[in-house]
Amino acid sequence: MAQMRRRAQRNSWTLALLGLFVAMLAITYFIQPRYGAAQLQGLAIGALPLAMAAVAQAIVVISGGIDLSVGSMMAVTSVTAAVLMKDQPETFTIVAVIGILVLGLVLGIINGVLVVVTRVPDIVVTLAMSFVWAGAALVVLHTPGGGSAAWLRDIAKGSIGSEWIPSALVTLLIIVGVIWIPLRRSGAGLALYAVGSNRLAAFRSGVPVSRTKILAYMLGGLFSAFGGLALTATTGIGTPVPGAYTLLAVAAIVLGGVSLAGGRGGIAGPIVAVFVLALVRTDLTLLGANSNLSTVIQGAILIGVVMFGSLLTRRRART
């Protein structure tokens, strides 16, 4: 009981975000009574690529870095996947998907090695690499095109069991669960937090700091590849210029309770944050708000929630 309470307290930010999400679902239903299972599915499908990007960004930021090439890596993997899979037999597409995930790992390792070897700040290295990958994506596929394997589309679209359980959500939870939960409970997971929290202390404690950073970027690349595949799966084509996923991912992790200074936060918060952001957009559309104005409102909500959160934390520290 006490342990459960402590666990709830530690994850209070994520729980509060989840509460916010539920409250917003209720508001959505109030605005548009016809909002139901199909719309929920659409929400999950729309949120899937950003959720993957947010997980990628969260892992890198927790380890004390930042990856500005998440969006570009998604573009490269998305178009490569679309080109490889177009009109191919099923067995080949399975190999192609595995190949794309390996490609993501490699892209991430390149980022990590460059950061570690050159000692150029993370933000500079990944910004530069974001141009490289963005250009590469356009070389692979100049205009949106290619195709997605049917099975991949089925993973992302539709529902599982009840029509109220979107398969995109299940896919997301399985992928993140299978990779993150064992990692978090391993020495490597602790090393990620340790390096992000205090590099010198981690070094002195015998943590291999360079390898840990490379691991973080590698995982960032892997989840970016999942994001790229999600783009291809949900749209059915490869997108060489996918939109502002990098910065949206940063927004999502901040909203999700990850400290940009490193060492604090988790993965669940950013994922819930992605759904909150997606629902905000839906609600504004339902309300018929001008789409330019709705971006302004989204930004304002982001600042408002984070500010409210830090106010609460400060107040709790006082009382």
């Binding site: 020495g187 602790l190 205090n198 010198l200 404690s205 015998g206 943590v207 009382t319």
Partner: protein, 537 residues
């Protein structure tokens, strides 16, 4: 009856459920050096922060020269002539000293004057702050505070990590402020410093003022009693027990042997054996090569020459992980260099055991829990704030840094000034812990900037001067004056400048130039004293 310069009564401040100050009072006169004493967590720092406007009190009444006073910010307090110097110097590392002075609108000429008084008059103001040693920055911070001619100057443990020579200068300058029109409020854990320069001491315990003591012969005991409350006698008894437990281990073979070690420009040639079951003290003025020695032994840095042997086998460490694997662990003075401040006690204790690449696999949760709980219990860590280590007190934090190693069964522990800035009660626990580790067969290398700790915790001591070992002293002879003489590389029969100064203080007639023009006996050979530490000019 001298003028009351600043008077605070009934000051209280709560942080959530924790009362940092319950009812503190403080009354200081112009022209006195007033000590503010108390164990860690007694509320000294909170009181200082309230007086400088960094923290707002919940209740209480403060008067300056009879006028009600409440500073809303440090800048406002500064304008009102109330300034504080903290242990961590408030300088911007990326600016040069001149720009730092401009930032605080400090007049240059008086600043220069105080720098000269403090013995670093040759400082180049265009030096970047980040290029200067920490000790120099602390002194610069003090000179900057003095330069604006404050009414009340508060020094919050500013001598805690100062090398002996600079401490002396600082104490001398502070002592000279007696009888001026300002007041200095002096916070230090070192009773000897209090005895040397202070007129009176206000003692805080658990957020309350429990007494004001006039500093005279023997008042230290009274202060300690007040600080510790009923715990004082207990501590004394434990202290005796600790010392009697010291075993002689001449016969056992060396756990760690260092041969002609050479590192960078500072550490020139050091050789010693560290045996299993002994605590070997290391004493040195700041910057004599001890930092380099510990870095190499801990695997953070590679030596330029010489040999390390663990259990008689030559080793070479490329990474702290190698040293840890060889059973050599490191406890730094600065907890911020060892702990993940935002993470839990559990993770901090577990970190060294699961961090290496070879153990990147899943953590056995049950094992880990027993491991961590055993360590926490052994060290009596107060884990009420277990979710983040930074919420623990300094003493408890230092216990966590030691706990993590104890949990794994220590073979060789390198302690670098482990009790810096920690209250007396916790210090005792740390000495006891170090003794127990040695009794269990571990070898401990124990550097301390507080020389009296050598006799409290060690079996013998080596003294490093200018990168070489200049003396090895058995514990029975390793009292403070002997160690200090050796640390200055002085022959045993030459009196220390400090003693001369203390003599003058006792005579209540400090010469205007202090020990700059001392008794000719003291510096019969000016070279031997002057050639000492790099920072003493």
């Amino acid at each position: 009856m001298p003028d009351v310069l600043l008077e605070a009564t009934g000051v209280a401040k709560r942080y959530g459920a924790v009362a940092a100050l319950r009812s503190a009072s403080l009354s200081v006169h112009a022209g006195e050096v007033h000590a503010l004493m108390g164990a860690n967590g007694a509320g000294k720092s909170t009181l200082v922060k309230i007086l400088t406007g960094a923290v707002h009190p919940d209740s209480g009444f403060i008067q300056v020269r009879g006028e009600p006073y409440l500073a809303r910010s440090p800048a406002e307090a500064r304008r009102g002539g109330i300034v504080s110097v903290y242990q961590e110097p408030a300088v911007i590392p990326d600016l040069d000293i001149r720009s730092n002075l401009r930032l605080t609108k400090t007049p240059i000429e008086p600043f220069r004057h105080w720098l000269t008084e403090l013995g670093i008059g040759d400082l180049d103001l265009s030096d970047m702050a980040r290029d200067l040693p920490l000790a120099t920055l602390r002194v610069i911070d003090l000179a900057r505070a003095l330069a604006i001619e404050p009414h009340v100057l508060m020094l919050d443990e500013m001598t805690a990590a100062l090398p002996a020579d600079l401490t002396e200068r600082v104490l001398h300058v502070i002592g000279n402020q007696r009888g001026s029109d300002r007041c200095i409020i002096f916070i230090s854990h070192r009773l000897i410093e209090i005895a040397a320069v202070c007129d009176r001491a206000t003692v805080l315990r658990e957020g309350e003022t429990v007494g004001v003591v006039d500093i005279t012969e023997g008042s230290e005991q009274r202060i300690v009693e007040l600080m510790l409350g009923e715990r004082a006698s207990d501590t004394k008894a434990r202290q005796d027990a600790v010392r009697s437990g010291a075993a002689t281990t001449e016969e056992s073979k060396p756990k760690l042997a260092v041969h002609q070690l050479r590192v960078g420009a500072r550490l020139k040639d050091v050789s010693f054996d560290l045996r299993a079951g002994e605590v070997l003290g290391v004493a040195a003025l700041e910057g004599q090569g001890q930092d380099e020695l510990f870095d190499v032994l801990a695997g953070s840095r590679r030596p330029d020459g010489g040999e390390l042997l663990v259990d008689g086998v030559p080793v070479s460490f490329r990474h702290p992980a190698d040293a840890i694997r060889a059973g050599i662990v490191y406890v730094p003075a600065d907890r911020a260099e060892a702990l993940l401040m935002q993470r839990s006690v559990r993770e901090n204790v577990a970190l060294p055991y699961v961090a290496g690449v070879r153990s990147w696999g899943p953590i056995a949760m049950a094992d880990e829990a027993t491991h961590v709980n055993a360590a926490v219990q052994k060290l009596q860590i107060d884990t009420r704030a277990a979710s983040e280590v930074r919420q623990l007190s300094g003493g408890n934090q230092q216990k966590v840094t030691i706990a993590r190693w104890v949990a794994g069964g220590v073979q060789t522990m390198l302690c670098f000034d482990p009790t810096r800035g920690i209250d007396i009660g916790t210090k005792q626990q740390i000495y006891e812990l170090v003794r127990n580790l040695a009794a269990a067969g571990a070898a401990v290398l124990f550097y301390t900037s507080e020389l009296k700790e050598v006799q409290l915790a060690c079996d013998r001591a080596i003294v490093i001067f200018a990168g070489r070992i200049v003396a090895e002293i058995p514990v029975a002879d390793a009292d403070e004056p002997t160690l200090l003489r050796a640390a200055y590389d002085l022959p045993p029969d030459v009196p220390m400048p400090e003693e001369v100064a203390a003599g003058e203080l006792a005579a209540e007639a400090p010469a205007p130039d202090g020990f700059a023009v001392p008794d000719p006996r003291a510096v019969g050979d000016p070279g031997s004293a002057g050639a000492g530490p790099a920072v003493s000019a």
